[in-house]
Every structure is written in C-alpha cells, then in structure tokens.
C-alpha cells in the first residue's frame, strides 16, 4: 500500500529554544573601521522574532517537509490544464549560463544569454505562427495581462472606443481576471452542446465595442474549436483582436499553429509546454508573441541581432515593461534545453503523443459506471473532462472524494474545481511524458475507486488515509475568528492583541 511520510514536524519557530545562541551559517567579516551610525529616528526598536538553529537542524527540518510533499518525480500528476510533465534533469546544467549575471550588465558582457534568448524568441514565434515574441513575462497570467494591455493600447492608438472583452466560458479563470485588471467589461460567450464556442451567440454579441476575444484552442474541455476560422473572421470583421491563451498549447504543438488559425496575440506558459519544473506553483516563465501590426505593441526589450552582435530593442508602440528586467530568464533557458533535447522531430511529436495519451485514457474510461463525458464522439487533445455527476446522484460521492481517494493510492488528483460548465469535473491531462504502463495503472486505479464508491461510498468519503494528514477542516481554516496566515497572528491572538479579521 502507498503511504506518504508523516513526520509530525514542528514549525521552525518551535524547533528553536531562543534561549541559547545557535548559528546556521557564518557571516564573513572584514576588519573595517567603520562605525554604524543609523539615525535614531529610523532604528529598529523591537527585537527580531526569528529562530536560531544550526545548519543540520535547518536542513533536516526542510528535508522532512520535502518528504511530506508530492511532485512529478514521485508519481503521475494528471492535473488538467496544468501540464505536469516530466522535467528532464539535464535542465539543471543551465544555471551556469545565467545564474551569476546581473540584469543591468551591458549587452556586450552577456552575449551568450542574449543569443539563447534570441533563439528562443525565434523558435517560439515559429511554433505559434507569430512574427515576434517577447520573453518579458514571468508566468501565464502576466502574459494575458500583457496581451490585453496590447489590445487596449492598439485600439486607443487607432482612436477606437472599445470597452468589451469577450471571453469563452471554457476559458481559464485568469482570462476574465486579466481583462478586468485592464479595465474591460467582461462578456462571456457560452459554449454549445458540443462544448465549443456557440457561433450564433458570438455573432449576436460582437459589435463596435468589442476589443477582442480571449480563447484557448484546444479549449479547457480538451476540444479543438473546429470553427476557429469562422470565429476569427467574425472578430476581425469588427476590427477586434483574437487572443490565444497558450496554457493548452501542448495538445497541438507541431500539429497546428495559432497564427495559422487567425490569432493575433499568443501567450505561452513555458513551464507547461516546455517542461520547466513548477516549483510548487512557481517560478514559471512565459512569452508573449504577436503578429503583424500588433508586434509593435509587445513589451520591451526584444533581443535583436545587429552586425553579429545581440542587442536589445524596444518596439515602437510598446506597452512598456511587465517585469522589471527580462522575465524569468533562469527558466527560459530550461525550456530552451527541452527544445534542444527534443529537436525538431521531438517537438513536432509533442502534440501527437499527448493527444494519443488523452484519447487512450478516454477509450478505457468512457464506459465506466459513475462517469459521463460531454460529446464523447469528439476526440480530445491535451486533456479530457469527465463528470462524476452520475456517481454523485447514485451514491453521494463527489469529484472531491474521488480526488482524495486517488491521493491515497499514490496519484495526484485531476483538476476538480474547474471548468465551471461541467459539474463534478475530473479534468485529466496525461501529457506526452507518462509511459503507457503508468497510464494503465492510473486507469485501473480510477476504475477501482469508482467500483468501491458503489460498494462502500462511506469508505471513499473517509479518504485520504495514507497521506501526511487526513482530510483538512476548510471552515476552520477560513473562519474570521480562527484564520491564521502566520505564526505572528497565532502569537498575537494568544496575547489578545488581535481578534476577529474584520
């Protein structure tokens, strides 16, 4: 039986006695005759409440914590839309190229880094069918923001009054959030019975106030928007901009390119499609690419080549900077290595192999009792969303329960909170890196859980049992009288200094 480590590890504060001095590292000292003379008015008054420990204690603490955590190196993480593929170890060689270089160094001292960035810009443009890319953005959502701001500035430059951003209801939750951050009114486009953009609704909604449409293709249901050329025509007919959310690019990489479908702007999540380790939720890395006139609005700088030297350039109508320097270059180079290792042959296989894996899962799971699938006749691309509503109706077991039961068996769970249009969603994304043997094991495990849900639903509701902790109390975690976002809050509450979070 699978079991996760359970160390009952105290908080780092509780490991330190605070009575005896301990040191985890020696600070280098120079014999320099300078007096510290900070103005009284700004000196820190209160003693720091930071624990003191030896190096071993610190290391042992965090290694124990690491053992209570699950990553791709431990097992399959079929999190839909998150593209949790294997991160090849060779990527770690990259640190030498970028780690010790300051972002404000002159171009002539970092030609190696700039050459890598230049190649990546070109390759990303090639893979998306765009004209130019900027590596400014530290993560996907920042790419969306950049894209929407580009749309905003583009219309403003043309003196067009546009205040509505269309967003498909199958979109990631970040799309409407990014549009709203840029001051747009968000108009949702409902999907039809097949899970695709409803063209009739789109036609009705599009008007002279439409700034653009934010879409991902394949969408979050894993379905390819087969009417994409018509959608593109409708949006362009009112001078709107078609924006591509690259979070789902994995399923079509090498098969079809957003640029050829009529998209004008694309963001890419390099950490997803190009296997940068996700680090527990970050750092990621991204790129924002554009076509035609819109490329002049990209965030700066862009790396260019002039007379054999790499230089930084600012597009003429740039929206400005999304990050203080060049984005998460330390991760851009990890993605670069992924592309080097796959080569043109391998990169061109990514969409095929991830789509093959998804449809293989579907073929084995589509008739399982308790699950249902929207438009089962349609092939999926990167991911598939099953609904566990039949199981809920039959036995009162939820998608959340299934997720927890999977954890108990050594798998991470599918995405279950999204998309909102599928009730009791189980959004599964296998990626191209999971071996067929693992896919088979996952299929078998999920089937067992569903069978057990019908036999003994209470047992499934009691999961997880084999993880570091059992099911957690979310009400307590969020209640204004008990919500505790730091040790400081715990301390101050015990002293009666702070009370309810009003």
């Amino acid at each position: 039986m699978w079991r996760q480590a359970n160390w009952d590890e105290p908080l780092i504060y509780e490991l330190s006695s605070n009575k005896k001095r301990k040191q985890g590292i020696i600070i280098p000292e120079e014999n320099i005759d300078v007096k510290i003379d900070i103005p009284e008015k700004i000196k820190r008054k209160n003693d720091l409440e930071i624990p003191e420990l030896s190096e071993l204690e610190v290391v042992r603490h965090f290694i124990r914590l690491s053992q209570q955590n699950f990553g791709v190196d431990l097992g399959m993480m079929p999190l839909g839309s998150c593209t949790m593929k294997y991160n090849p170890k060779v990527e770690e060689l990259t640190s030498r190229v970028v780690e010790n270089y300051h972002p404000l160094q002159d171009e002539d001292t970092v030609q190696g880094i700039l050459e890598m960035m230049y190649e990546m810009q070109k390759w990303l443009a090639e893979m998306t069918g765009m004209d130019e890319c900027s590596l400014q953005i530290p993560a996907g959502a920042a790419g969306e923001l950049a894209g929407v701001l580009m749309i905003k500035k583009y219309h403003k430059t043309k003196n067009r009054e546009r205040d509505e951003m269309l967003v498909a209801d199958t979109a990631h939750g970040t799309n409407p959030a990014s549009a709203a951050m840029s001051g747009y009114k968000v108009i949702y486009i409902k999907s039809n019975q097949e899970g695709l953009v409803d063209i009739d609704i789109l036609k009705e909604v599009v008007n002279s106030k439409t700034a653009g449409l934010m879409l991902t293709n394949p969408n979050t249901l894993g379905l390819f928007e087969e009417n994409i050329l018509e959608i593109s025509k409708i949006i362009h007919s009112v001078d709107g901009v078609l924006y591509y959310d690259g979070a789902n690019l994995n399923g079509i990489l090498g098969i079809a390119r957003p640029g050829d479908m009529g998209f004008d702007i694309v963001h890419i999540n390099l950490h997803k499609t190009f296997a940068v380790p996700h680090g527990g939720g970050g750092p990621g890395a991204g790129a924002i690419c554009a076509k035609g006139e819109l490329k002049e609005y990209l965030p700066y700088p862009i790396v260019d080549k002039e007379g054999g030297k790499y230089v930084l350039r600012t597009p003429v109508k740039t929206i400005g900077k999304i990050a203080s320097f060049y984005g998460n270059i330390g991760n851009v180079i990890r993605a670069y290595v992924y592309i080097l290792g796959l080569g043109p042959q391998g990169v061109s296989q990514v969409g095929k192999m991830s789509t093959l894996a998804t449809n293989y899962l579907i073929s084995k799971l589509k008739d399982v009792k308790g699950l249902e699938l929207l438009a089962p006749h349609r092939p999926r691309k990167h991911e598939v969303v099953f609904s566990a509503k039949p199981l809920l109706n039959d036995k009162g077991v939820t998608a959340l329960d299934i997720a927890k039961a999977l954890l108990d068996r050594g798998f991470y769970a599918p995405t279950i909170y999204f998309p909102g249009i599928i009730e009791e969603a189980l959004m599964i994304e296998p990626t191209e890196t999971e071996p067929k043997e693992t896919l088979d094991k996952f299929i078998e495990t999920l089937k067992e859980i569903l069978e057990e849900s019908y036999k003994d639903p209470e047992k499934i509701r009691q999961t997880p049992q084999n993880t570091s902790v059992k099911r957690l109390d979310q009400v307590k975690a969020n209640h204004p009288t008990s919500v505790t976002p730091s040790y400081r809050v715990l301390r101050l509450r015990e002293k009666g200094v702070i009370k309810i979070l009003k």
Binding site: L11, C82, E126, G341, L501
Partner: protein, 450 residues
Amino acid sequence: MDYHPWLPNLDYENEMIREIGVNSIDDLFKDIPEEIKLKRLLNVGYSKPLSEYEIYLRLLELENKNTKLRMPPFLGGGVCPHYVPEAVKFVISRSEFYTSYTPYQPEISQGLLQALFEYQSLMADLLEMEVVNSSMYEWGSALAEAVLMAYRINGKKKVVIPASINPYHKKVLETWTYGKEIKIKEIPYTNEGKINLEVAEKEIDEETSAVYIQQPNFFGIFETDIEEIVDLAKKKGAITIMGVNPLSLSLIKPPGEYDIDIAVGDGQELGLPLNFGGPYMGIFATKWDGKLVRQMPGRLVGLTTDSEGKRGYTLILQTREQFTRREKATSNITTNEALMAIANAVYISLLGKSGLRKLAEEIYKRSHYALLEFEKKGIGKRKFNSDFFEEFTVSFPISYGKIHENLKARGIYGGLKISDNDAIFCVTEVHTKRMIDEMIEEVKKIVETS
C-alpha cells in the same frame, strides 16, 4: 524517431491507436481544418534531438560567450549580488518541492504548505506585519498590484510616488496601471536625496489613492521622514505602501512600526542568485485588517486541523481568487514564485536573528568603507550627504562612462551610471575588502591617467 528518453510511448503508437479504435493518430486531429494543419516539421532547435552531452557542450559554448569577471559586479539597482548558501540550493533542489505544483490537494502537499507558511511567518516577523502572501513575481509587479489594490479599495486614481523610486519598478507600475488609467505623481527629492516633504504636503490630497515610499530609496539612502509622510497620507485617507529591502530590516524600522497598510519588496537578496533578472521573489504584506486582507492578491497558506485534530496547512481565503471569482478576483495571479519563497525561508532560518543582523551590519560597513575610500583617494565624492545601506551614489571628476569601459576591460564591473559623472555602486558581503581596494585602485589609475 523511434525512441526518445522523454517520449516513452513512441513505440506504443500502434497498440494505443488500436485500443482507441482509430486507424491512425491523424484521426485524432480530424476536427482540425485541413488548411490550418502544419504539414512540415517545426523549424526549432538544431537539426536533430541533441544528446545530453551535446546539450552540455552547447550550454558551455553559451557560457563562454558571456564575459568572465574577476569579481562579482558592483552593480545594484535593487538587485544585488549575494552569496547563496549551499544548504539553500540543496533544499530547493529537492525534487519533491521542485517538481510539485500549487497545492490544490493539501493533504498530499503538507511539506510545501508548511514551508510556505513558514516563509509567510518569517517574513511577517521581519516586516512586523501580520499577513504575507506566499509570493508575487518580483518587486515591480508587487508594487503595481499594491497600487491596483488601493484603487479597488478606495476607487481613487491618483498615486503619489517619490522621484527616488527604483526606475525599473516605476516602468512596471506604469504598464500594469495603464488599463485602469491610474495617474502617477512624483515627489522630487532634496539635495540630500530624500523625499521633499514640502512638495509631498501639496501632492498628497483628497484625490490620492495611495502613497508609496521606498526604504532605502533607489540611491541607497535611508528616508528619515516616513512618519511624516504616513501622517499626511492618513489625514487624506490614502493607503500607504512601503517598498523595503528585507535585508536592511534588522537594522531599521520595518513597515509595521510605521503602521503601513501594504508592504512590498523583493526576496532576491535573501538567498537568490542574480539570475539575469529572474526568477526573483515579490514580497507582499498587509497589516491585520480584513479590508486589506480580503483585497490582497496572490495565495495565502493558513493553519487548520485534520479530521483527527492534527495540525495541518491549507490554502486559505481562496474566494478572493480568479479560481472562483473570475473577473471579480483580486488579481489574475496563479503561478507565483513558491520555490523562491522556500529559498527565502531556508536562508532566513540559516542566518537566524543574529546572522541577519550581522550580515546587514557587514554590508553597511563595507559599503561605507568603499565610499570613504573613493573620497580618501580623491577620485570620487558622495553625491548625497545622507546615510545609506548597500548602495551609494558617487560623483566622479571625469565621465563615468570612461571609467566604466576601462574597468570592464580589466574584468571588473563597476556601478550603474545615472548621469555623465554619477554612478550608483553596490557593495555587499560578496565583495571582500581586497576586491573593494582593487576596484578602487583601478578607478584611481583610470582617473589619474585621463
């Protein structure tokens, strides 16, 4: 291509196709219109898949195209070179952390959640603010998010910033607030390089949404009139935002002691390499006030118990997020810099209370020593007569560009040029006394021979 180490199912194609019940992989793409299908290989990478050794050689080639320096650069601008302890690198390389994802399933992600809770807690104590999120991208975007948050709270569109703000952060602020049409007003600095209080009094008015203070400011100078600015802001109902260098906070008053509403900063100086601009680590904190906490962007980890009463950790207050709130969310951020937050937590834990203080003192001493030496040698003078930390501005008798190019030719990277004769130098614990002396000696030669 028949086999590839990262594509394990190439040889299973036919078997899997049969199971699916289609004739070929192409059938799985029959919903893609023929005219948009790519009918060639992508022109990326090099002509073939590179072996690990070939990748190594390519990276070595790139590495050799960067200039080798004799010592760490004396270059700051809000990002300073520091020594990263091996224990920090070791912990964040643990693949259970490194290859994990946002902890949507807390029971199987306790290690990450506890480590992030500890980051939030250690940073809260350093800042003396109660709520710290589990990271933003970097300082610039954290500041932009703070300004957008102030706008969400009070609906006003004017933000007041000091002219001594880090200009790279200012650029990010301008871009991110473009969509909401927020107006940015600058308060000039005095001859001492500090915020001009008289102008601040005029600029901070009833229309002001937020007032930003950077401590120490872009020139490395400690602002000494923070209480006064905070008072002005409070009288006019504006939200106060303070940008901090967390490394300086064991010496100087943290934002909490000024009763600041929102604190931002970068954790880069707490255990992260320069990384040519990223990944860095955006700090975002608020005081204990529901109005602020509920508008806070980003993720928060909190304490709770499991079904057996055992302590556990989980993401909290998620109803603020794009996850459920979509266009009404407090921000669009999902991927953050979680691993970098863990690096910060390990770094702070290794140094502890006394180590943090000692390090700050050592940096203070070395940077002051360097400035004094420039003056003693008669080759540079301080531009501002104010106390500073880590970075300082020097005025040279000749064009700094000339000094810079000559230094570079000798394998030394000097400060950041801010005008013809002025440059900001950054000196930290990675610059030994010998390196500082050598750099100054080289500058002396350059100044004297021109």
